[in-house]
């Protein structure tokens, strides 16, 4: 009996191996699916709160634990809202 990792690396049989490789290669499959998902986000984005529309109200805690409610700022300040990440 062949170990599982070798089966994943090189599936048996010419045709079976070819097709199963496509489905067993989960990393590629997941990347393909997520890229389609991301593409749909880019397609939807222009219709979400387009220029001229009122910005929604939401409340989130900052890193110091203070809650910021957008309705406290909307109509009083200019706002720049963006995202950040370490990577």
């Amino acid at each position: 009996m062949r170990p599982a990792n070798e089966f994943l690396r090189k599936p048996p049989g010419p045709l079976f191996g070819f097709w199963s490789w496509r489905y067993l290669n989960l990393v590629k499959t997941i990347k393909l699916v997520t890229s389609k998902r991301v593409k749909s986000f880019y397609e939807k984005f222009p219709s979400i709160f387009p220029p001229g529309e009122r910005f929604p109200d939401f409340a989130l805690k900052d890193i110091h634990g203070k809650t910021h409610r957008m309705s406290d700022y909307l109509g009083k300040k200019y706002l720049v809202i963006t995202t950040g990440a370490i990577t």
């Binding site: 709160f49 900052d62 890193i63 909307l74 995202t83």
Partner: protein, 136 residues
């Protein structure tokens, strides 16, 4: 100093608030931070958000999104979007990928037109540069 810190500094006396929403790690385990994993709990995420402030020397408010990504989903789910909102609470400019210089152009035009700052000097459009050694 990251670009949005420079914007915050430039518009400090012009009623501009900058918010960074910390949503997810788009490249967990890559980009020179191999120790960064996907978030498991809110506390884990909060810890990373604090690391973000420390690593990138961010002074602007970092809002930590909930684990269900409700706010991020509401605003379009993109990794680096930007919204500029006017004093009337309406969106002025939005982009799928944030560019600090474009944001600065919109902000400068808004602020220069604002009658509340009529006595203050007009602001020029700026070109932002990253300081050496600062990862953006």
């Amino acid at each position: 100093m990251p670009f949005y810190e420079q914007i915050q500094k430039k518009y400090a006396d012009r009623d501009v608030a900058v918010f960074n929403i910390y949503v997810r790690e788009p490249h967990a385990g890559e980009r020179g931070f191999p120790g960064i994993r996907n978030h498991e709990t809110y506390e884990h995420k909060l810890g990373y958000a604090r690391d973000l402030a420390r690593i990138k020397k961010m002074e602007a408010a970092i809002l930590v999104d909930e684990m269900d990504q409700k706010v991020h989903g509401m605003l379009g789910n993109l990794p680096n979007f930007v919204y500029v909102i006017g004093k009337d609470g309406r969106v002025v400019y939005k982009a799928t990928w944030s560019n600090a210089e474009t944001v600065d152009e919109y902000l400068a035009d808004l602020v220069n037109k604002d009658p509340a700052f009529a006595g203050k000097p007009k602001l020029e459009h700026a070109i932002f540069t990253a300081q050496a050694g600062t990862q953006i």
